[in-house]
Structure formats: structure tokens, C-alpha cells
């Protein structure tokens, strides 16, 4: 059986020392090993950003595509090979800015994939512009006198779109994050793990300490019921999205793949694609 070491490669991440994304990388590796996955059974599809580099830092199949489209690429991959464990990953700009449209529809479509967002409330790779999750008033290179837009609360958007699995983690709490990623991968349907993953270089407001101060950890609320969608929405609104843990899970979720008419158990990628001549003739007769 594969160990955490099997999911590591020898590429040195070009992240800044202290970047929250290191913990996310380690958590994914630990979660995969804990679930008994083999590296070749896993594909990580990532977006563009500092966070998007993550697919190159894990020993598994990896696809690093274009900015904002990790989810659509990941869904295509899942359709080609439903046996793969498909994880999409990227930043807050990638997923909730340029890619928000795809996010909403991926949620709605509910394919059995996991989406891990490294939310640092800033555009890291492009050196410090505000992001869709930057707070009102936040000063960044593109908001020198303070952000006059309101922030997107990803958890709220996800619940509104009908998500079937929603969790949030924090880079400082790796044990919780590993557990959440494991549950997300096991969930039958689309799972979001939104991770507060500080950018130590360009975001001097939303720091590790700031998150520690503001986050409410649902693990510490014994009677919180993650199967109650209304309660989940209430919690997200009350905390302005700053809560961690399993927020919501629909235990009756049926993934998209299970509902496609005529879709087969055998992955498309490894099935014979030659058409049966009798079926071809029958099909033509509709035009005769």
C-alpha cells in the first residue's frame, strides 16, 4: 500500500517560506495515503496562480491548465475515466474570480470530484492585486484607497448553488484539513474544501494570527448538524464565512456520472470505441 512518501516528488515548491499552500500540499498527500490510494489512481488538475503549481508538487497524475478552468478540465477527465480520483485545486482568484461561472455549474452538476481552494484573499502570483474574496476596504495594489467592492463568501455561494459537500479548513490545522480532504474524496458527488491559506508576502491583513482570531471551528460545536442545509447557511452567514470544519453534507447525493443515460461502469478511456456495424446501419436508417 502506498505511503505519504509515495505521493511526494523531488520538486522543490517555488512558494515563499511560510506560504499556507505547503500545508495544503501535505494534507492532500496524507489524505490520499490514509485512504489507501495509489499515486497512479489519482489526478490533480490545477489552475493558474501560486496555488495552481500544486499539481506539480504531488507524485500523481497532474494537469496544470489555464487560469480559471481547472474545474471544467477536471470534469472532462472524470468523464473519460470515472475510476480516477480527481482533485481540482487552485486559488481564490482562479476559482471565484475568472472561474466562478464554472464553479457554480460544477456544483450544480455534482460530479464525483473534489475541489480544493487555497483562499488567501489576494492574487499572489501576479503580486498582490485584490481578489473576489478580499474584504470591503481591503488595500491592495489595485485598491490603493481601499476595496469598494463587497467580497464573495465562497461557502455561501456554494450552498446557494446546491452543493452536496462543503467543508472549510485552515493551513494551521493540518489534522483537521487531512480529515476534511479524506471525507471530501469519499463523498459521492462534488465536494468543496475551501482552505484559508495565508499569503505571507502580499496579504499583511489576513495573516495566520488574523485567521486564528476570527475563525469559528465547527469541531468545537458539539451539536452542530452538518446535514441541515438551513443551519449550514445560518452558520456561514453568522460567521461571514469564517468557519472551519464540515459545514454541510448531503448524504443522499447521487453523482452526475450515475445519472448519465447509458454510461458504463468501464471507463471510456479503456473501452473499445469501435462501433458495432449493425448499430451503425440501424442508426443510418433514421435518415433513409
Amino acid at each position: 500500500m502506498a505511503t505519504v512518501k509515495d505521493f511526494r516528488n523531488d520538486v522543490r515548491p517555488n512558494w515563499c517560506p511560510g506560504c499556507g499552500d505547503f500545508s495544503v500540499q501535505a494534507s492532500i498527500q496524507r489524505a490520499l495515503a490514509a485512504l489507501g490510494k495509489e499515486p497512479h489512481e489519482v489526478a490533480i488538475v490545477s489552475g493558474i496562480g501560486c496555488s495552481g503549481r500544486i499539481s506539480g508538487y504531488i507524485n500523481a497524475y497532474g494537469f496544470h491548465g489555464v487560469h480559471g478552468r481547472a474545474l471544467s478540465t477536471a470534469q472532462g477527465l472524470k468523464l473519460a475515466n470515472r475510476n480516477l480520483t480527481v482533485i481540482a485545486a487552485g486559488g481564490d482568484g482562479d476559482g471565484f474570480g475568472i472561474g466562478l461561472n464554472h464553479f457554480m455549474h460544477a456544483v450544480r452538476r455534482n460530479m464525483d470530484i473534489t475541489y480544493i481552494v487555497m483562499d488567501n484573499q489576494i492574487y499572489g502570483l501576479t503580486k498582490g492585486q485584490h481578489s473576489p474574496t478580499s474584504a470591503h476596504g481591503f488595500k491592495a495594489k489595485t485598491t490603493p484607497s481601499g476595496n469598494i467592492e463587497n467580497a464573495i463568501v465562497p461557502a455561501q455561494v456554494a450552498l446557494a448553488a446546491g452543493i452536496t459537500f462543503l467543508a472549510q479548513g485552515f493551513s494551521s490545522d493540518v489534522n483537521q484539513l487531512v480529515r476534511l480532504i479524506q471525507e471530501a474524496i469519499q463523498h459521492r458527488g462534488f465536494a468543496l474544501v475551501n482552505v484559508f491559506s495565508p499569503c505571507v508576502t502580499y496579504n499583511k491583513i489576513n495573516t495566520y494570527d488574523w485567521y486564528k482570531e476570527h475563525i469559528r471551528n465547527l469541531d468545537e460545536i458539539p451539536d452542530y448538524d452538518p446535514t441541515d442545509r438551513a443551519a449550514a447557511m445560518k452558520m456561514v452567514v453568522e460567521t461571514h464565512g469564517l468557519c472551519t470544519g464540515l459545514i454541510y453534507k448531503d448524504e443522499h447525493s447521487v453523482p452526475y456520472e450515475d445519472q448519465i443515460p447509458g454510461y458504463r461502469e468501464e471507463p471510456i478511456a479503456f473501452s473499445d470505441i469501435h462501433m458495432d456495424p449493425a448499430l451503425f446501419e440501424k442508426t443510418l436508417r433514421a435518415y433513409a
Partner: protein, 484 residues
């Protein structure tokens, strides 16, 4: 020409006009709405068709609405026929010959594209609806359940192509279909497919542009966009079927080329080809062969250690490197749109960049796809008429009429634009006194491409039409005659 007498029609001198009171006869049969049936009857008379051949269709179409409607419609056909006969409209020179006892199909280009994709083993089709491409996805939504395929109606064309790329990377034959506006949205992803060497097929059913333009009208104005639209430089293939039959076979070719060269392939049709239903030869499954190119068999890799890195972008003489599909043990590798090394790991050093760019571009360098240009007609022609896409019929007819008038005419049709068939085109027009390039756009894109790629001829001119309608044979004929 048959026209409704109600409008006091007139016609040019050389046209014989038969004013038939279409509306009036239809009203007499029960409703003005049946004037199409009256004109059907009148046309049948000209073509020498007996009216009873329509009975079956009329019953099929209208029996839902009751026996009376069926009878009224048949009566409208009969009266139109009779009126025309009395006008002397049964014209022997137009009488249709009995059909050959061959099996035929009746379909549009989009149907043939869908069938071609099905036969070629396409199994994932993400697409966003747009005229005139939507029929392709609608057709496959009906057919895919029988073969285990899936159509996803995506949120936009960016998702459509990036999803197709994900599926193709995953090992499926995947494609999408769109028109100009969608093609514009796909440009970044086309570059991604080129850079990551992912085989994917994009059908562009051209319509009138720019912007929303003429969304339901004919145009051939995406040629430059298809060839040069993406940023950066990638190897790419552009195929241009001209007939319904070719819409079928081109899909087989497109997937094979995409997987052989591991690059995006754009199949361009135009609205007239995509949407016109026409009598089509019976299609043959044997005309579509499946060749998946260089793919490593999983058995070859099974014993490799877990940290073995598969060289997905191995440098080879042809520039083509073996593929492996995710899920295969021993095939682990990284894929990225960032410049990368043989293993797929990012590397932006000048030496690596130069080497990998050269590797990718080498795949198609010097290649001309066989059959990219088809020439018919006379040697040493007074005029060679060059066309692309659905104008194949009108050009052929115009060339035939020129020949009847004693001119020497050749028809040169372009069936692939990239790799640009410089040698084939040069040879096809070399012996012509004059060349006219016929295209449905305002700027002469095909003609510009010819000179851009170095196809030379001292007397080349354009015949352009961009009013949203396809060429009529007479327009091409008159233009060429005027050149003599």
C-alpha cells in the same frame, strides 16, 4: 419561375415566368396557408412527377389533424398541378429521370458530422448551444446512450473546450462543436491543447460574423481566426469538408490526425453545409478507421517503481512523443501549459524553451495532408475557380456551364487549410490563364492565405459575397464570363 399571381410578378427577359394564383387556389381549398402545397403541385407538373407520390407524406404529416386536412392538402397539390399543366408548364426538358436503384440518405452536414464522430469513437462531447452547430450535440444526445458516451451542455464554450481537453487527456476521444462566437471564446484553450499536446477536435460551423452578425446566415469568414486565432505558436490542423458525405468521413480523419500529431484539429463547415438537408450517398462505417496514434500499452509500464517519471514529452525525430492515459501504473507524469521538459515538469530556461518549441513545431513541418486540394475540369483552363466549403456545388455547376459555352474551366476546391497545401494549390492553378477565388466573406481571406503562404499566380482575383446568402451558380458563371 413559378410565382404567386397575387403579387403581379415580373422576371428578367431570359426567365420564363408562370404566374400561378397560389394564394387564391389555396383559399379555395380551405386556407391560404396551403399555398406551399399549391406550389408543390405546380412544381411537380414542371418536373413530370405524378401527384400521388405525395399522398404518403401528406397522410403522415397531417393525419393527426384529421381526414379533412389531409384531403384539403392533397386537393391543393392537385389543383396546383392542374393549373400549371393548363398553362403549358409541363416542360419535358425539366422532367426528372427515374431514380437509380441506389440506397440514399437524406440528411444535413450536421447529421453527418454527428454520425462521423460516433463512428470515429468520440465518446465525450461538451458543448454550448449555438446556431448552426446545436444539431450536432442534440443528435449525439440521442445516440450516445447506445455506445456509453456523454454530451454535457456546458455553461459556456470555454468550459466546453477545456472539458473536452480534460477528457482527451484522460484517454477519451473528445470534441466540441460551435460557431464563430464560441470559437472566439475557445482561443486560449486551443493554445492549451497545442502546448500540452492534447488531441482534441473542434467543429466550427461558420455563420455570419462579426459579433452576433448574421446568426442564421451563410458566411465563410472564420478562416483567419481558425488559422491564427490563438496567442503563441502551436501546431494545428484545419480541415474543410465540402459535402455531406465528407462531413462524415472528415470526423474519422480529424480524430486520427489529432491523435497522431497530438494537437488540436479544427473542422470547419459553413451554415449552408451544416444545415442544408440533401440527398446523400449511403454512408459506410468502413470509411472511418480508428488509429489512436502513439499510446503506450499499460503492460509495458506495469513494473516500474512508483517514482518513475514517464517522459510524456520525450524528444523524438518526428516530434511526436508516446502518450499514456491517467490511471495507468508506471505512467505518472505532469502536464502543464507552462513551458516544460520531457517529463512535463515546468522549465523556462532558454535552451529548454528552444528545444521544446522546436519539438512541437516539427510535428507538422513540411507536412501537406493528401487530398487537401481537389481539381476537376479542363487542362490549361481559361479560368480556374478556387473555392472552399459548401460552394462546391455552385462552382461545379458554373464551371460546367462555362464549358458548355466553349470556355475551358477548372474547379479547384480546398479541403484543408492547415497545414496550408502550398504545393497542391500551386500545382492546381499553375496552368490556368486566370484564377478566381470564390468565398463568402468581405476581405478575401482564402485569397490572402494563398499569397501569405506563397502560392503564386500572375492573375488572381476574388469573387466575394457577404450578404448572408450562398453563391448561386449563375453569379459565379456570370462573373467568370465577364472575365474572359
Amino acid at each position: 419561375m413559378i410565382a404567386d399571381a397575387k403579387f403581379n410578378p415580373t422576371a428578367p427577359e431570359h426567365v420564363r415566368l408562370f404566374p400561378v394564383p397560389l394564394t387564391q387556389i389555396a383559399e379555395a381549398c380551405g386556407s391560404a396557408i396551403m399555398k406551399n402545397m399549391v406550389s408543390l403541385g405546380a412544381s411537380a407538373c414542371v418536373l413530370g412527377l405524378p401527384v400521388d407520390i405525395f399522398t404518403e407524406v401528406v397522410v403522415e404529416r397531417f393525419s393527426r389533424k384529421g381526414q379533412k386536412v389531409v384531403e384539403q392538402n392533397m386537393q391543393a397539390i392537385e389543383r396546383g398541378y392542374a393549373y400549371m399543366r393548363d398553362l403549358g408548364g409541363a416542360l419535358p426538358e425539366f422532367a426528372l429521370k427515374p431514380a437509380e436503384p441506389r440506397r440514399h440518405l437524406f440528411m444535413m452536414g450536421n447529421d453527418a458530422i454527428a454520425l462521423g464522430a460516433l463512428a470515429a469513437g468520440a465518446r465525450v462531447m461538451p458543448a454550448y448551444p449555438i446556431t448552426p452547430a446545436s444539431d450536432i450535440m442534440e443528435s449525439l444526445i440521442r445516440r450516445f446512450p447506445e455506445v456509453g458516451g456523454v454530451v454535457v451542455q456546458t455553461e459556456d464554450e470555454i468550459a466546453a473546450l477545456t472539458m473536452a481537453i480534460g477528457a482527451a487527456y484522460g484517454g477519451a476521444r473528445a470534441f466540441t462543436a460551435t460557431s464563430g462566437p464560441g470559437l472566439s471564446l475557445m482561443m486560449e484553450a486551443i493554445g492549451l491543447a497545442g502546448m500540452t499536446e492534447t488531441p482534441v477536435v473542434i467543429v466550427d460551423t461558420q455563420r455570419g460574423g462579426p459579433s452576433t452578425g448574421l446568426p442564421t446566415k451563410q458566411e465563410q469568414s472564420d478562416l483567419l481566426a481558425a488559422l491564427f486565432g490563438n496567442h503563441g505558436e502551436i501546431p494545428k490542423i484545419v480541415l474543410n469538408p465540402a459535402t455531406t458525405e465528407e462531413c462524415f468521413t472528415v470526423m474519422g480523419k480529424a480524430f486520427n490526425l489529432a491523435e497522431y500529431y497530438q494537437c488540436p484539429v479544427i473542422v470547419m463547415t459553413d451554415l449552408a453545409l451544416s444545415l442544408s438537408k440533401q440527398t446523400t450517398d449511403w454512408l459506410r462505417l468502413e470509411d472511418i478507421e480508428i488509429d489512436r496514434g502513439l499510446v503506450v500499452a499499460p503492460e509495458e509500464l506495469a513494473d516500474l517503481p512508483v517514482h518513475h517519471e514517464f517522459k510524456r514529452y520525450a524528444i523524438t525525430e518526428s516530434g511526436i512523443s508516446p502518450r499514456v492515459f491517467p490511471g495507468v501504473k508506471g505512467g505518472l507524469h505532469h502536464v502543464t501549459g507552462v513551458e516544460h521538459m520531457e517529463t512535463g515538469r515546468p522549465n523556462e530556461t532558454p535552451a529548454n524553451r528552444a528545444k521544446m518549441m522546436e519539438k512541437r513545431m516539427r510535428k507538422l513541418r513540411g507536412v501537406e495532408l493528401p487530398g487537401s486540394v481537389v481539381r476537376t475540369g479542363d487542362a490549361q483552363p481559361d479560368v480556374a475557380i478556387v473555392g472552399i466549403g459548401s460552394s462546391i456545388g455552385p462552382i461545379a455547376e458554373a464551371a460546367a456551364r462555362l464549358r458548355q459555352q466553349g470556355y475551358r474551366a477548372a474547379h479547384v476546391h480546398v479541403h484543408a487549410l492547415l497545414p496550408f497545401p502550398v504545393r497542391q494549390l500551386q500545382e492546381a492553378i499553375a496552368d490556368a490563364k486566370q484564377v478566381v477565388v470564390v468565398e463568402n466573406n468581405a476581405t478575401g481571406q482564402l485569397r490572402h492565405l494563398m499569397s501569405f503562404f506563397g502560392v503564386e499566380h500572375p492573375r488572381v482575383s476574388s469573387l466575394l459575397k457577404f450578404d448572408g446568402t450562398p453563391f448561386l451558380p449563375v453569379e459565379i458563371y456570370n462573373h467568370c464570363k465577364g472575365m474572359m
